[in-house]
């Protein structure tokens, strides 16, 4: 199935604006993040703790609705779904 990934803020500088993933079989948000991390070391370091947990402030949205990464990363994705990922910016 095809999953569109959009990155914002500093993740966009690492991943680019948009990625289209072709995933065989079932896909979850966690699975998509694992694919991105395995392909891109800089993304892995930026998004994940050394322990392997997703950094707790990272925002993830599926079809533009925010999900709680502590609970919903195993949410199944459907063909054509869009996953948005970004860290909040905090400067002023």
């Amino acid at each position: 199935m095809k999953i569109k990934v959009m990155a914002f803020a500093s993740f966009r500088e690492i991943l680019g604006k948009e990625l289209n993933l072709d995933i065989v079989g079932e896909a979850t948000a966690a699975g998509v993040l694992a694919i991105l991390a395995s392909r891109n070391k800089r993304f892995k370091e930026a998004a994940f703790e050394e322990s392997g947990w997703l950094r707790d402030y990272v925002q993830i949205m599926i079809n533009r609705k925010r999900i709680d990464p502590r609970q919903d990363l195993s949410t199944k994705l459907n063909d054509g779904d869009e996953l948005v990922i970004f860290p909040p910016v905090a400067g002023g």
Binding site: F8, Y57, R66, A90
Partner: protein
């Protein structure tokens, strides 16, 4: 009532929203949290637009490395308190309004006093812990919070209407780590301008506010995007009514 000088000063805005609208701005009291990059843009445009009373608070002094983006302050202000140069700049732009510039730290102890008499809160902070304080204060007082934040070419903004929209904590449950951010003045210009536009619309009651939406600005690719946000029913800042009641119940039980 507007005086003759005000009618002339705001002529182009009166064409947009009438003298009634301009008077609504004049009657508004705004709190600008911070006189840095965002605070500069926010307060300058609010002063120019004629928000009647602007209270701007900052504890820092102007440094040379601020001047690429903090357009409230000039080279001659280096070493001076930001509140002082802010006051001069804003009053210079518009002597018709009241500027209340305060040298002070925004914290749990000071915020209640600082917000006395203010109808709107403009977030121009550089850290999430203080933003969460502003969020809680906005919720308690039931006054709107106009959030903005930047990093380099990137920025974000949203409008929070207590009781109606997702609050800052619903959108960002956990703060990113503190850091020294790269900052471009024009990014502050984009985001601060969005915040002021929102405040104008809120006061006038016109247009569609940036509530339950997070606007994302990517200056590097010249893209403006938005993501939907919803109130988090378990939000510890805005959906704690049930918890408060439960706590009271427990207190009563213990007292009995």
């Amino acid at each position: 009532m507007l005086n003759q000088a005000e009618r002339e000063r705001y002529a182009r805005q009166i064409r947009l929203f009438g003298e009634d609208g301009q008077e609504k701005l004049k009657k508004s009291s705004v709190f600008v949290a911070g006189a840095g990059g965002l605070g500069s843009v926010v307060s300058i445009y609010m002063a120019a637009a004629g928000f009647g009373r602007i209270r701007i608070v900052d504890c820092d002094s102007v440094e040379l490395s601020n001047l690429n983006r903090q357009v409230l302050h000039g080279s001659d202000d280096v070493g001076r308190r930001k509140a002082r140069s802010a006051e001069e700049m804003l009053q210079g732009i518009n002597p018709e309004i009241d500027v209340d510039a305060i040298v002070g730290t925004i914290d749990e102890d000071s915020l209640d006093r600082l917000l006395q008499g203010c109808d709107l809160i403009m977030d121009a902070m550089d850290n999430f812990p203080t933003r969460y304080l502003l969020n809680r204060a906005a919720l308690q007082r039931k006054i709107p919070l106009f959030h903005g934040a930047i990093c380099g070419f990137q920025g974000q903004a949203t409008t929070i209407i207590p009781g109606k929209s997702a609050c800052l904590r619903c959108i960002f449950p956990r703060a990113p780590p503190a850091a020294t951010f790269p900052a471009l003045g024009s990014t502050c210009g984009v985001i601060g301008s969005v915040q002021v536009t929102e405040a104008v619309k809120y006061v006038l009651g016109s247009g569609e506010l940036l509530t339950d939406r997070l606007m994302l600005w990517d200056g590097l690719n010249s893209c403006m995007d938005e993501v939907a946000c919803v109130r988090d029913s378990s939000c510890r800042d805005c959906c704690n009514k049930y918890n408060v009641e439960t706590n009271n119940m427990w207190n009563n039980v213990e007292t009995e």
